[in-house]
Amino acid sequence: MLDHLSFETPKPKTIAGAKYDWELVIGMEVHAQVASNAKLFSGASTTFGAEPNSNVAFVDAAMPGMLPVINEFCVAQAVRTGLGMKAAINLKSAFDRKNYFYPDLPQGYQISQLYHPIVGEGEVIVDMGPGVARKVRIERIHLEQDAGKSIHDMDPNMSFVDLNRTGVALMEIVSRPDIRGPEEAAAYVAKMRQLLRYLGTCDGNMQNGNLRADVNVSVCRPGQYEKYQESQDFSHLGTRCEIKNMNSMRFIQQAIDYEARRQIAILEDGGAVDQETRLYDADKGETRSMRSKEEAHDYRYFPCPDLLPLEIEQGWVDDIEATLPELPDAKKARFVNDFGLSEYDAGVLTAEVENADYFEKVAEGNDGKLAANWVINELFGRLKKDDDKDITDSPVSPEQLGGIIALIAKGDISGKIAKDLFEIVYTEGGDPAQIVEARGMKQVTDTGAIEAAVDQVIADNPAQVEKAKQNPKLAGWFVGQVMKATGGKANPKAVNQIVAAKLGI
């Protein structure tokens, strides 16, 4: 079995400036909150939406003399994430302090991993359509603490601080500048989110800020990027700006597009892009500078003396690797190869692991393609109409849907009846086979009964019979009449054959 499908590289996005064509070069830092019940260096809970300042240990509040102790589970989650991105796991890593003052940073420093991250180089395949994908290199993944939340709009004179989030573990996943357009950037984040959810290392909830991205954007003239690729020398590329804290795929695309055009205008005007940090204002649809050079932080990174270097064993890493689930690329390839699905359908079904699991249960003992059609068209469509329900809340279980499909395959019901049956199961529940039996929905395959019905239609319509003998295409009219007469339950195949035989065509 192929582990992954072969693909072509997408064309980079080109923007036509007033004078030249320009290409985009994008690198991303994705901040993913580690799925863990406790914080990175304390036992405090990470539950979202708790009362302000209720999930705070002494060390989170930076009380005097309090010390951080690493949460082994968070380390395992980072390793798991690295393995999922085919990345090198560093058996020895270390924590550093990033120093700056802010009220929601009680220690006055964030514990992070600047010099020795836990995960090294890896890669992610970003699908851009059937047969087209971008391979994005991962530079590193490191563990760090999240900050708390400052609240400025509760009181005219005071600010408030909520430390619930302080010290929650984040993974910062840093890519190489391999992303070549706004759509690719959004697809990269979507792929990242998919992978993390498959791995169970981040819930991917962008609305709550559990997954957010800093986007580095620069522009260059066509041909320059290829020079960079050959030499890995960044001087071939333009000066980049970092757009901070993006938590929507749509805004990521808009921000990149705006930022690229802004840089192009500067460059074509003979100016130079300042390397700086910018924020995207979604209301105005523009990016703006976050702080001037004078305000730029000097983070004074240095090794955190409260923590020993983090040493893990290869055996422990191997144990984690042994528990990795089948990941999206492999699953998609398997769906294409084993079930004969189109790459598109396989992509839709593997987007969320819950969908893929559901599909596989439906497909058990059934035709894969038929199962895929039913899941994608009927079930997804119905769920969407039903207040955009999640598949995990589907009123139809995979076993029930599988049962419906089995009845079609057996010839017990027609496709049309199957849709009625599906609706009954969806709204009322119950075993599909029993419903079919109890409500007399089974299609009539008794040739005697069908023959009688055909005879009746022929007898009632002598003129039509004559016409049909001249023009055999009219046989379809008879079939329709028979179906009508039998309430749609007659087996269409049998009706066709009998009609043709009786008409002698």
Binding site: G65, M66, F101, P103, G108, Y109, R300, F302, P305, D306
Partner: protein, 493 residues
Amino acid sequence: MGELSKLTIAEARDKLRAGEVSSVELTRDCLAEIDGADALGAFVHKTPEIALERAAAADARIKAGEAPDMCGIPVGIKDLFCTKGVASQAASAILEGFTPEYESTVSQNLADDGAVMLGKLNMDEFAMGSSNETSTYGNAVNPWKVDDRDLTPGGSSGGSASAVAADLCLAATGTDTGGSIRQPAAFVGITGLKPTYGRCSRWGVVAFASSLDQAGPMTKSVRDAAIMLQSMAGHDPKDSTSADLALPDFEAALTGDIRGKRIGIPAEYRMDGMPDEIEALWAEGRKMLQDAGAEIVDISLPHTKYALPAYYVVAPAEASSNLARYDGVRYGHRATLAAGDGIEQMYEKTRAQGFGPEVQRRVMIGTYVLSAGFYDAYYNRARKVRALIKKDFEDVFAAGIDAILTPATPSAAFGLGEMADADPVQMYLNDVFTVTVNLAGLPGIAVPTGLDKSGLPLGLQLIGKPWAEDEMLNTAYVLERAAGFVSKPSKWW
């Protein structure tokens, strides 16, 4: 009164077990001494209620038998240790009013063994200083005097030193980042032990320089140091730098037999301009150990001269980061703000008011040496020097040296205020013999072995192999017995 407070831990333990004295009696005696000793400025928060309550509990435990060695022993706790429900402010105005909801592991270990906390002891602000003059409480005073001059008890554990030397308590906790246990111990004629880095938990001890800080006992004898260390030390999962090693029986190691031990004498500790008295003291120490059957070996620790500069880069760097949390947001002092002041003004005013000049100086030095463009030239270079200093020690230990003998301080105690106008570096020179031990993470002990010509105590330092406090204590015990130091300051307070 005052007779019981003069006891050593070992003596008191035996009397308690024999039923000759109760912990409540011992404690009352100490409390009375403390109340009469305000002039020493040693105790800055007194906790008589807690003390008597614990003493009564200790008496019950002793009566029931099986009480640990420290049970019923009245001790003082340095203000750097967080003590639950008792003011703990690291002698800084910025922690004004701070009362922790938790107890440091070391003070908890002592309490668990039944030790009786008498109160909190003065110190230099955030343990930054060598004279106890940077304290927000005002300085502690050395019980020893010359010509009626007030002398420093040393620092930063000046209050601990003063209290033990003046017999206000039987022993005290100290902390040592660059010599803060050993230098004051030497200045007041008591024993001060800094354990191997990682031997005592740092959890709940206000951090100065995390990679150097170690808690340790300050006692009236080497045996007491062994007994108290036994209680203070041990693995703590709450401190990632705490060593998961079994503790040897420190007191049992005091055999007095050091025959065949090889004692190194480092050439580099013979400083230019070192007083003859210190030189003579050192020579006597060598002789004492030799007479006890040890072999004296001349050794070289070639990077010693870089230790002080490296220390005064690494320690302030860590301090500048460790002290960032004192920002007025959550606890301690917060400056009154003027109309229009924002968060930056709150930080600036709070920290300008809350930190004394020496702390501010070190925060600024530390910020500077970590800043972009200077990191490699200062911090990184200092780290490399530190590694070389550590290697110096590893090399001599690998060559068969069992312990190293040096002077503890370059002089006897100096007068309070004497250094007020001096270059801060003059004050830093007090640590010249002690900082190497912290940089290398080794155990060190200061033992009083003589008096200078004006009658002030002087001490020698022994440096041990990592995790070999037991051996080091035994060598110190030999030195103590041979020196026979029994002098006490005459009571003037």
